[in-house]
């Protein structure tokens, strides 16, 4: 973390980056091809890539903002909008598709009253579809904040949501 002091001493930043991210940028600054790794770090912290942070990253890495947005929009993993406090990711890989992944999405949409890639009004939950989380033997599968639930049936979903709500 030794690099922080130099970084915070730099003039006129639109936003203060948290220490962890600053240190990470310093560590990666001179490595070629660092942008995607830095964006991963940013999203890990904020859950998405906030606009002012993207500005700041552009300045620190000395790359045009357009390039940053070019990269963010190309890769499905990066989000531009804040997701729910709990992120539900339903697997729509082939194994899960065959075993009814779509039905899980529909049921979640009914329970939460939102569609895919939307967030509930209270900011608690968002739903997205992802490609294969690598537990196909347990299909159909979903994850909540990275925790895997497998061999699911529709009637288990309400319980899973209740478990995470407020948690």
């Amino acid at each position: 973390m030794g690099a922080d002091t130099e970084v915070t001493a730099l003039p006129e930043r639109s936003i203060e980056l948290p220490d962890g991210i600053s240190a990470f940028i310093e560590e990666w600054k001179d490595k070629p091809g660092n942008l995607i790794m830095v964006l991963h770090r940013v999203q890990e912290y904020y859950g998405y890539v906030p606009r002012d942070v993207a500005f700041e990253v552009a300045a620190r890495l000395d790359v045009p903002l357009a390039k940053i947005y070019g990269v963010i929009t190309f890769y499905h993993f990066f989000k531009l909008r804040k997701p729910g406090r709990h992120q539900i990711a339903v697997c729509m890989g082939t194994a899960c598709y065959l075993k009814g992944g779509e039905d899980l999405i529909k049921e979640l949409e009914t329970i939460l009253g939102i569609g895919l890639n939307q967030t509930t009004a209270d900011g608690e939950f968002s739903i997205e579809a992802v490609r294969c989380v690598g537990c196909c033997g347990l299909a159909p599968v979903l994850t909540v904040d990275g925790e895997v639930y497998g061999r699911l049936t529709k009637d288990q979903l309400a319980g899973i949501i209740a478990k995470h709500r407020g948690g």
Partner: protein
């Protein structure tokens, strides 16, 4: 210290999700409570492969195999089995119709042969010493001290090893191109992007045996003259990433990565680079663009990456499974490896066996094994006694194989002849409830979504094919659509820039070849035999079978079933949303799906 008993607990992603970490904690606590820690070792291993029955716990000696273990079961295993030597009968796995037996004798394992997965489910992947104890890094040692780079290439040539990432290109040739390319520095990349949705071979290998990949990359570096390696891995694989980070740290500390490896004067290091959810980045030129921090757009080849790759320098790109074979080849020799398999395809292949099969999981078989052996002997047949319909290999770039060809010995060539491909190892079993047209629409939706959009044949062709399939599944298809599917498919195969667009039509072409009749039924009879295409099915109630139990009426989400108790019920077809709830609910077979 020698232990007299070992308890191996699967800590792969699938089993971790079933709380295998808690099982380990409880086992360890039980062992300590009984003062057995001097004689019993509890080890968290990589995937055993038998994912459908996870979490799996194995006890040695005796090879006792416990399946679907719950944390609450840990005490009993410790008390009865470890302390008193009485295996817990109730938890031992029994294959249908058989008595419980040693793990190696289970039908699931009998036809398997493990080279790539040699350490998965055997060692603790977070402990380099366990890898070394199983001859780990001995292959690298040979490459450093006993063999010249040309010797290594000669062993690979004799082994006949071909790329496991999909295309099956001979590995030794790739290495020769890089070795002989004049430019410097050179790079080694491990492709761990594993894009095929529904496949997890590489994930399990990395989680269960990360050092085998590091060792192979160092061997590759030594052979072609590279000092830096990158592992390009999906960000969606957090456990594999963590295990790799641990492995890299341990290897550096042990002097097996970094400067002057084992005093040989050879420097080599490995860094991780994370993917970000773009299938096209599995393609090697797109992958390079992504490591360079750019949008992952493919560029035309040649020049091939082996000659002009990362930052314009010679770069060997190999798949995870390809690499995992290499340390073993150096130890046991290319001739040994070349004695396994078929004339054109040597060694083994790992498959993620999934879909409608009883024992879904991760398997490794010699090349030349038949699909029937895989699905029925290892996989235990089709779930719920349904009828086998097709096996899909190669994911969105592959194709379907019908029952008539189940006895084909699989290798690169035989699968290509059937209109599919070996692919990276996804093997998805479909039964009579799956609709071929619908599944192909799913694959095309995937490739359309994942097309980078750079070239028109893929961007426009894929969309056109998807729209045609949608038309057919919605009952608006015509015979001319089939011809158009063929025409667009051929254009895409010929004119697309990269492998994604060139192979995207494969699933449709292969299914038209083997299941053309099913397409025609959708088009001419406006019917979907499996009942999967909603627009083409109607639900009604057979009055003579309905006893009026009211179950369906209570389950219908839109309340469109009416009828009095103990009298035949009726569905209002105009309001029915075809959800199928009533069909599943009725215990008397009175709901008709047609």
């Amino acid at each position: 210290m020698a232990y007299s008993q070992y308890v191996l607990v699967c800590a792969g992603t699938a089993c971790e999700s079933c709380r295998s970490a808690e099982i380990v904690r409880r086992l360890q606590a039980g062992v300590r409570a009984r003062g057995l820690e001097g004689s019993v070792q509890v080890v968290r291993t990589g995937c055993f492969g038998f994912c459908a029955q996870g979490p799996v716990v194995k006890v040695l000696p005796g090879d006792h195999f416990y399946a679907q273990v719950k944390p609450e079961d840990a005490e009993e295993i410790v008390e009865e089995h470890l302390a008193k030597g009485r295996p817990v009968q109730r938890l031992l796995y029994r294959a249908p119709g058989r008595a419980a037996g040693a793990a190696a004798e289970l039908p699931f394992y009998q036809k398997q042969f493990r080279i790539v997965l040699r350490n998965c489910g055997v060692i603790d992947p977070e402990n380099i010493r366990e890898y070394i104890a199983r001859e780990g890094y001995a292959g690298l040692e040979r490459a450093l001290f006993e063999m010249t780079p040309d010797d290594v290439i000669e062993e690979l040539r004799k082994s006949g090893l071909r790329g496991r990432g999909g295309a099956g290109y001979p590995t030794w040739k790739k290495w020769v191109f890089s070795k002989e390319a004049p430019a410097n520095p050179k790079y080694i990349i491990c492709n761990a992007d594993e894009g095929d949705p529904g496949a997890y071979m590489d994930r399990s290998t990395l989680e269960g045996d990360p050092h085998s990949i590091l060792e192979a990359m160092a061997i590759a570096g030594r052979t072609v003259g590279a000092q830096q390696g990158y592992i390009y891995i999906r960000a969606e694989y957090p456990l594999a990433i963590r295990r790799l980070e641990i492995a890299i740290r341990q290897a550096r500390e042990a002097g097996l990565l970094g400067r002057d490896i084992l005093g040989s004067g050879f420097d080599f290091d490995v860094e991780l680079r994370l993917g970000a959810g773009a299938f096209v980045c599995g393609e090697e030129t797109a992958l390079i663009a992504s490591i360079e921090g750019r949008r992952g757009m493919p560029v035309p080849r040649p020049p091939y990456p082996a000659v002009r790759g990362l930052w314009g320098k010679p770069t060997v790109i190999n798949n995870v499974e390809t690499l995992a074979n290499i340390p073993v080849i150096l130890l046991k020799g290319g001739d040994w490896f070349g004695s396994i398999g078929t004339p054109t395809s040597k060694g083994t292949k790992v498959f993620a066996l999934t879909g409608k099969v009883n024992n879904s999981g991760l398997i490794e078989v010699p090349m030349g094994t038949t699909l029937r052996e895989i699905i029925f002997d290892i996989g235990g047949g089709i779930k719920g006694g349904r009828r086998f319909k097709a096996a899909q290999t190669g994911g969105p770039s592959g194709g379907v194989i019908p029952e008539a060809y189940l006895d084909t010995p699989i290798d690169y060539e035989s699968l290509a002849e059937l209109g599919s491909i070996m692919g990276s190892g996804g093997l998805i079993v479909m039964d009579e409830d799956d609709c071929i047209v619908d599944v192909n629409k799913f694959y095309l939706e995937f490739t359309v979504d994942e097309s980078c959009g750079k070239c028109a044949p893929c961007r426009i062709g894929g969309r056109t094919m998807y729209n045609l399939l949608t038309k057919i599944t919605e009952g608006r298809g015509s015979v001319a659509d089939i011809e158009q599917l063929h025409a667009v498919a051929h254009a895409m195969q010929k004119a697309s820039l990269c492998g994604l667009g060139q192979t995207a039509p494969n699933p449709v072409l292969s299914s038209l070849r083997h299941f053309g009749e099913e397409y025609r039924i959708h088009i001419k009879d406006r019917r979907c035999p499996s009942g999967r295409c909603k627009a083409l099915v109607t639900y009604s109630i057979l009055p003579d079978k309905c006893i009026g139990c009211t179950l369906c009426a209570r389950r219908c989400p839109v309340n469109c079933i009416s009828g009095e108790r103990r009298k035949a019920h009726v569905i209002d077809a105009t309001r029915c949303i075809k959800c199928g709830e009533c069909y599943e609910a009725c215990k008397f077979g009175a709901v008709l799906r047609a």
